[in-house]
């Protein structure tokens, strides 16, 4: 039995709360659509299975085939912990948060913006499906952060923000110039044990949550769950967080697509100087973008890299009609990896396809001819990085040539009969692991 006055107050409070949420969402450009029913329909799973599995995995654990080649790693949906939210720290994201991330994508990661690629209704459906993968969404409700008064992006605000940057010790992770270099802490793991980098604050086009001051403010206010980036609620006032957001936005450098020829010359000279100053970092960049780990890491039957075996070799490649070439162990292990190879031997393999024992590799699939266009400095950087890859003892068997009659018969089919003789990549590790590295 409630008194009428109390009912009115509850109703009024509900209306005001709804209005506040709508105002926040409208300010952020979201459709103020009603919360969708929590029941995932079959459409959501169908969309997920056709568009999300390659990275997030068939069970949503963030362990899809491509997962281990991506930095940051894809989200594990089964935990229900999300980085990009407009909700209190530790709280669940709203439907609009999730829909926004799917629509816009997460810049600086492999998550593309799906808006326009798949129908909006499919995006809504897949978000409901993703929510059903974690029990948290059934048990808890998101706690949206209320509207806040923006501080105009003036030089004074940015100057105050610089003081907040110092007071909150942002430089410890992001560096004095905000670019990450020179930071005290440079290697991070997220809560999922995956490597991550502190954001380079001068490159807002890589900000997952968006480049606008309002987006940046929200990251300070909400924190980035699962990473060392906390919520600053309590340690800074709302106005200070807006000043900081304006300061961070002011750190934006020009991207190359806005530079003049002279600026590009300077930019590339500085980039080359940075590479020369830190060859291991340059080598790591090259090893990753040249896709070395894709073949030099064994994979399971779903083509997922076997965890803990990065660059340990053992992916079996049957290169018909020639024979079987398992990929080499590129880790620094002395017995089974490159530990006992000289720099010149490693560089000769990369650029000429000649192995340590003098035998030759085919000109594919390892494209050593293309890698020979790398500068000497870049080759040295690759070697310097490979020397730092922790040893994994994985003894990869030597190449085996196909039996002569099989070889000749396949060549005959291929050359005289015009038959297609495909090569095959196999799952599993052709190498033998020993010791306790795994």
């Amino acid at each position: 039995m409630q008194r009428p006055g109390r009912t009115r107050r509850v109703t009024l409070a509900a209306v005001l709360l709804g209005a506040a949420i709508t105002a926040v969402l409208a300010q952020r450009g979201y459709h103020a659509s009603a919360q969708q029913p929590a029941e995932p329909g079959p459409r959501g799973k169908a969309v997920y299975d056709s568009h999300c599995v390659e990275c997030h995995g068939s069970t949503g654990k963030g362990d899809g085939p491509a997962a281990l080649t991506l930095v940051p790693h894809p989200r594990d949906f089964t935990i229900g912990r999300y980085k990009i939210r407009t909700t209190e720290t530790g709280s669940l994201p709203t439907d609009e948060d999730l829909i926004g991330s799917v629509k816009r994508g997460l810049p600086g990661s492999s998550m593309p913006g799906w808006e326009g690629l798949i129908p909006d209704a499919d995006i809504v459906a897949v978000v409901q499906y993703i929510k059903s993968l974690s029990p948290r969404f059934a048990a808890e409700a998101p706690e949206p952060i209320g509207a806040s008064q923006p501080v105009a992006a003036t030089a004074e605000s940015a100057a105050r923000g610089a003081a907040v940057y110092a007071a909150l010790q942002c430089a410890k992770c992001h560096g004095d110039d905000g670019r990450g270099a020179g930071a005290v802490a440079t290697s991070f793991m997220d809560d999922w044990g995956a490597p991550m980098r502190a954001a380079n604050l001068s490159e807002p086009w890589t900000f997952r949550g968006g480049p606008a001051a309002a987006d940046i403010y929200m990251r300070f206010r909400a924190g980035i769950s699962g990473t060392p980036m906390p919520s600053y609620k309590g340690s800074a006032t709302d106005a200070q967080m807006w000043d900081l957001a304006n300061y961070v936005a002011s750190l934006r450098r020009k991207p190359v697509w806005e530079m003049s020829a002279d600026e590009l010359t300077t930019f590339y000279r500085e980039q080359d100087a940075a590479a020369a100053a830190n060859p291991v970092a340059r080598g790591e960049y090259l090893v990753n973008v040249l896709a070395c780990p894709v073949c030099h890491t064994p994979a399971d039957e779903q083509r997922r890299s076997i965890p803990g075996m990065r660059l340990a070799g053992g992916l079996r490649m049957q290169l018909n009609p020639w024979g079987t070439w398992p990929t080499g162990n590129l880790t620094s292990d002395k017995e089974t990896g490159l530990g006992n190879w000289t720099d010149d031997e490693i560089k000769r393999t990369i650029t000429k396809g000649i192995l340590k024992d003098g035998s030759r590799m085919l000109p594919f699939p390892m494209d050593w001819a293309s890698f020979s266009t790398l500068s000497e400095a870049d080759l040295n950087a690759i070697v310097a990085y490979l020397r730092t890859v922790p040893p994994i003892r994985n003894k990869v068997p030597p190449p085996t040539r196909a039996a002569l009659p099989v070889h000749l018969w396949n060549k005959f089919r291929m050359l005289a009969l015009g038959a297609d003789v495909p090569s095959y990549f196999f799952s599993g590790n052709a190498g033998v692991t020993t010791g306790d590295q795994r």
Binding site: E54, A66, L70, W257, V294, P363, A369, S370, P422, F426
Partner: protein, 203 residues
């Protein structure tokens, strides 16, 4: 005389068979050609950027050219002629066909041809493939067939330079078949099959 003819003929026959076998064994002569020859062919294959009038575009394209050469896009996006890759059709694709659980993908034409190449795609669409492996119709190429997971680690600056270079190489008309998005049959344990000896383009 008859014996001589018989033995001579037999010897000739054996020599022919052995010779044909040896010929087959060494054709294509990928392990007989010096590595330096492969290196030289690849080094001179990538079109230069000197013709670009705008100096900023030229600087970007030069950086992109270096990246495209280092990464070795040509390793898959070559066009096969009768005796191996035809480097005069740089990055016109069709040189490789990869089959897997995801379907059948032929390396695409990366030249700026209006009908069959990247002139049909916006910069963002090209960058999305390089970052996410997602095509404008929403389909995805496996990261093992086209290593977009690796290319996603390029900086946006470097990714942009690559796109600028691709916009400024000679256009080659070479139509590539659309992907077939149905699982392919593979031998036991195989996760991918790679065809690479013909032109898998259409025309």
């Amino acid at each position: 005389m008859k014996t001589f003819l018989k033995w001579g003929g037999l010897t000739l026959f054996v020599l022919l068979v052995v010779g044909f076998g040896a010929f087959l064994y060494n054709i294509p002569p990928v392990l007989l050609i010096a590595p330096e020859t492969f290196q030289a062919n690849v080094a001179k294959a990538a079109p230069q950027v000197d013709h670009i009038a705008d100096p900023a575009t030229r600087a970007l394209a030069a950086r992109g050219r270096t990246l495209v050469m280092h990464i070795g896009c040509i390793g898959c996006h070559a066009t096969n002629g009768d005796t191996g890759p035809d480097y005069s059709k740089y990055l016109a694709g069709g040189g490789i066909k990869i089959v897997s659980h995801a379907g059948q993908f032929v390396s695409r034409n990366l030249t700026p041809d209006a009908e069959t190449g990247l002139a049909r795609r916006t910069d963002d669409e090209v960058k999305r493939v390089l970052r996410s492996g997602v095509f404008p119709d929403g389909h995805m190429v496996p990261y093992t067939s086209m290593p977009w997971g690796s290319f996603s680690q390029l900086t946006e600056d470097d990714r942009h330079a690559i796109v600028v270079y691709l916009r400024n190489i000679p256009a080659v008309k070479h139509r590539i078949p659309d992907p077939v998005l149905e699982p392919a049959t593979l031998p036991d344990g195989a996760v991918e099959g790679v065809f690479g000896l013909k032109d898998y383009g259409i025309n």
